[in-house]
């Protein structure tokens, strides 16, 4: 029977199940197949902080959303077209996000009275008509999988566990995804357990065949490859791109990379990734705490490495004093903060942008630190290179502000030509620089950077410390005028970074916009998608996105003054807005949500309309 094939331009799928159901893996695999098929895509993993939250409960639901299209897309999508719900909890937790008419594939085996009661369903939603406005595909996924794996020598539990592969196979059929990549992946993952491998391969295939043969799925969908710029692509998550960016920067600088870090969600994957690459001379040091992580990185920087420390908000708080020391010592250091919901432990696995002011001001004394923020998962690569460039050029700690959404989200990435990256080679001091003596704080007149003289260099022995130093010789100085000069010099050095960064660009296709939407960090995608939608509805709106938060690009004031209104959407209570108001006396209007989730384009469209309606 030939089934109907429908062309669509984009699809949003959400896989949802128990933490133990393998939803992240299923999503990852579907994403890989989608990437290698050539669609543009964007993903949003959303999982609980607990490793195995109680089974079948709402807090235990783990989800993975994927948006893929035949054109350039910017967000993981607002509302799923398809929900795969592995149990009642997954259905209940996600139904609210579904538009009417969405497809819902449910695993009916899990809709037992007990499981329903656990999440507060009085009646079975599959039977009481409450899902009538959706296209429900009831599927006895667990029993179908067990049935398909009958001939294998595995336990029933092991067979049941392969149900995510069955679901993946079905979805791959439904959206014309290849499954060869997943087969290869499974072969590698279960190479030492042949029975489990065969079972998973068979489940995958059985799911595919189910789609092909069952009456329930009469239509399959095709999403053509996207016309992205020419090049070789891969799919990449933010944490991985960031790790590679650090390695690329190390190679371009000719310095060994030293990572001092303490495990913390959602930054740990950077530590995991870099610890795999010892062959490139990458040293990773899992310290006893956050303070020791940055301490070791700073020590390594003093000794001539590209020093990096990675953390999330609570860890950044612990590192404050050492960042202040790095400001005072004027040594290059990159501090990566993968922001998560706060305050305190907050929401470890959810995203937020509420560390901006901590990054900006969270130290004692006047301790300015340049801040760089990537705007998409793949952009974490370039942002990491940029953070290293500033640190090495200006001999300063630099804060790189990623977030949970960027860290775990993924998108296609055109693999860069490493030789085209900036030349980051550093010249260490080798000679005395002042009348036969070495002055560690004699600055470069252009950048105001001080010389970097690493131990082992004869004749340049010197002592530096956190006590105020005399301008030039660098000896301890309590002189009032000298202190004032040094405070201003350190500030001027950081302000001077603006000379090396590109101007703030504005996207204003009609040139008639009176409203500018200004964002930073991971909100780029939703803001861009919202502006596009608004424009399609005839609204003139301009967009600008800050990659450098300290210093701001030199033309920022001029850009902001061009518009009657400036709307600043942020996943915090108005931190950039505060800076913009303080710095530029611009009456920025905030749009602020702190739900632990990225913005939806639709809510930003509403926010844009709301501001325009005020006039």
């Amino acid at each position: 029977m030939a089934k109907q094939v429908v062309q669509v331009d984009r699809v949003i799928i959400r896989f949802a199940g128990d933490s133990g159901d393998g939803m992240q893996l299923t999503g990852d695999r579907f994403t890989s197949e989608t990437a290698s098929f050539g669609n543009d895509l964007s993903t949003l993993p959303d999982f609980p902080a607990e490793i195995r939250a109680p089974a079948g409960t709402l807090p235990g639901v783990s989800a993975f959303q994927l948006h893929f299209a035949d054109h350039d897309i910017m967000t993981p999508g607002d509302a799923p077209n398809v929900l795969v719900a592995m149990n009642p909890a997954a259905l209940k937790a996600n139904l609210g996000d579904l538009p009417r008419g969405a497809d819902v594939i449910v695993n009916t085996d899990e809709f037992t009275p007990r499981a329903l009661a656990k999440v507060g369903y009085d009646a079975n939603p599959l039977e009481d008509g409450s899902l009538d406005s959706y296209r429900v595909h009831p599927l006895a996924l667990t029993s179908l999988t067990v049935e398909a794996l009958r001939q294998f020598d595995i336990t029933k539990k092991e067979a049941e566990r392969a149900k995510n592969m069955y679901a993946l196979g079905l979805l791959c059929w439904l959206y014309h995804r290849p499954i060869e990549g997943t087969e290869r992946f499974l072969r590698q993952k279960f190479s030492s357990r042949p029975a489990i491998l065969d079972a998973n391969l068979a489940a995958l295939k059985a799911g595919w065949n189910y789609g092909e043969t069952t009456e329930d799925f009469s239509i399959s969908y095709e999403v053509r490859p996207a016309a992205l710029p020419a090049g070789t692509y891969r799919n990449i998550s933010g944490n991985l791109a960031l790790s590679f960016g650090l390695m690329a920067a190390a190679q371009r600088s000719g310095l060994p990379l030293f990572l001092g870090s303490y495990p913390i969600t959602p930054a740990s994957d950077i530590l995991h990734e870099l610890s795999k690459h010892k062959r490139f001379g990458v040293r990773t040091y899992q310290a006893e705490d956050e303070i020791a992580g940055i301490g070791a990185a700073l020590g390594a920087a003093f000794a001539g490495s590209l020093g990096v420390t990675t953390t999330s908000g609570p860890g950044l708080a612990l590192k404050s004093e050492t960042i202040g020391l790095a400001v005072s010592l004027e040594l290059p250091l990159v501090i990566v903060d993968v922001q998560r919901g706060g305050p305190s432990t907050g929401l470890p696995t959810k995203t937020e942008q509420a560390d901006l002011l901590q990054a900006m001001f969270g130290r004692n004394g006047e301790a300015p630190v340049p801040i760089v923020a990537p705007c998409s998962p793949a952009d974490c690569f370039d942002a990491a290179v940029e953070a290293c460039r500033i640190a090495l050029t200006y001999r300063t700690p630099v804060l790189l502000l990623s977030d949970g959404y960027l860290a775990n989200g993924s998108e296609p990435w055109r693999i860069p030509d490493l030789t085209a990256l900036p030349d980051l080679r550093v010249e260490f001091a080798t000679e005395p620089n002042h009348d036969g003596a070495f002055w560690p704080f004699l600055r470069d007149p252009q950048t105001l950077a001080r010389p970097w003289a690493v131990p082992g260099t004869p004749g340049l022995e010197h002592r530096i410390g956190g006590i105020e130093k005399s301008d030039g010789p660098g000896n301890i100085s309590y002189d009032p005028d000298n202190h004032e000069r040094m405070v201003r010099l350190r500030q001027a050095k950081v302000d001077g970074v603006a000379a090396s960064i590109p101007p703030l660009e504005v996207d204003d296709p009609t040139d008639r916009a009176r409203l500018l939407v200004l964002g930073w960090g991971s909100t780029y995608g939703p803001i861009a998608a919202a502006c596009e939608t608004a424009r399609a509805e005839g609204i003139d709106v301009a967009q600008a996105h800050l990659r450098h938060l300290n210093p701001f690009p030199a033309n920022t004031a001029e850009v902001l003054r061009r518009y009657d209104r400036v709307l600043v959407p942020e996943m915090n209570l108005g931190q950039l807005a505060l800076l913009v108001r303080g710095r530029f006396l611009v009456d920025a209007i905030g749009y602020n949500r702190v739900r632990g989730l990225p913005f939806k384009a639709a809510e930003l469209v509403a926010a844009i309309k709301d501001v325009i309606a005020r006039d």
Partner: protein, 355 residues
């Protein structure tokens, strides 16, 4: 000894010509209080460093915060005066990344044992290749006289007018408890003993903790007087020497034996005979005996205070193990062009091309 020193410093470049104390003296004015024990330690270190025969530029001193932590400013080597308690962490980054450097940490009892206690134990546990000089004056000096984590119970200070409520740390016990590979104790005023301990610490590749009893005449004067007064010190001090029976006291009349309950006991040598005495073995793999020796001391009276090297064993250091892993990873990867290898790594295995 010289063989050990040569081995310990094998990766540190040698000086072209002999250096002198002057070469290690910086042009900075020393600013401790008159009579401070720190002066004697500084002089001993400056005089001792030349005999190592290594290049000055390959020596790094890192300190935290406190009176003792001003130390690096006065030595003409590379140095960093960092922040309170964190010197071992910062020095770990230096030692782990640069095996060609000789790294020293200078710290005090508050710096190392209170605010920086965590870094101290982990640095020792990892066997980082660095030497920690812990100046113990049993008081906070720089903040003007509060009790410290080594102050005796009941100590009356500005912050404990009715006496401190805390039991003191014994830094040597602490270090042995985390199986530090080199642990020693010495006294600021005994130049010869101090230098000898420094010499042995320098000949140890790995983490070394040297506790130095240091007098603070301003806030805790004569805290170690019983160990210094020539009239009585022999009754208090137990001088440890590897391979020698442990005996002390005027006329060496007292000795240490292992009691049937496995604890150590102080006995009259005349009663038990020399053969019954415990022979000090600093190289024992198991730190148990060294620990037991460290527990002999009465923390209040300082009665029965061993000085010298408690423990000195060779174990792989962190930087050695790290270098070994880096080397192994490189060997497995082969000798390809690193830029190409990185490009390949970044591309990964699942790519697609758009033309």
């Amino acid at each position: 000894m010289t063989d050990l020193l040569a081995e310990a410093l094998a990766q540190v470049p040698k000086a072209d010509q002999p250096l002198s104390k002057k070469d290690f003296t910086s042009d900075q004015e020393v600013r401790w209080c008159p009579g401070c024990g720190d002066y004697a330690i500084l002089a001993a270190v400056q005089s001792f460093l030349p005999e190592l025969g290594v290049r000055r530029e390959n020596i790094v001193f890192v300190s935290g915060i406190g009176c003792s932590s001003r130390f690096p400013y006065y030595l003409d080597t590379y140095g960093m005066h960092s922040i309170h308690g964190r010197a071992p962490a910062i020095a770990s980054g230096i030692a782990a990344s640069r095996p060609d450097l000789m790294v020293w940490v200078v710290t005090g009892d508050g710096d190392a044992l209170s605010i920086g206690g965590n870094h101290l134990i982990h640095t020792l546990r990892r066997n980082m290749n660095l030497t920690i000089l812990l100046f113990n004056n049993r008081i906070y000096g720089l903040t003007k006289g509060q009790y410290s984590p080594t102050s005796e119970h009941g100590k009356i200070t500005k912050s404990s007018p009715m006496g401190s409520l805390e039991n003191p740390f014994n830094p040597v016990s602490l270090a042995l408890g985390v199986e530090a590979t080199f642990v020693a104790r010495t006294i600021d005023s005994d130049r010869k003993h101090l230098t000898d301990v420094l010499r042995q610490a320098a000949a140890h590749r790995g983490a070394a903790l040297v506790e130095i009893f240091q007098n603070c005449p301003i806030f805790n004067d004569d805290a170690f007087e019983v160990l210094k007064d020539s009239g009585i010190k022999d009754d208090y001090l137990i001088r440890l020497e590897h391979g020698q029976p442990i005996r002390f006291g005027r006329d060496a009349s007292k000795g240490v034996v292992r009691a049937p309950d496995a604890t150590l006991k102080v006995v009259d040598v005349g009663e038990v005979g020399t053969e019954a005495l415990l022979v000090h073995d600093a190289h024992a793999e198991n730190p148990e005996l060294a620990f037991a020796l460290s527990r002999l001391t009465d923390p209040t009276t300082l009665d029965r205070t061993p000085i010298g090297v408690f423990r000195s064993v060779r174990r792989p250091t962190y930087d050695e193990l790290m270098a070994e892993q880096l080397e192994r990873a490189r060997r497995v990867a082969g000798t390809g062009d690193p830029a190409e290898a990185l490009t390949e790594l970044i591309a990964g295995r699942d790519t697609w091309t758009i033309t």
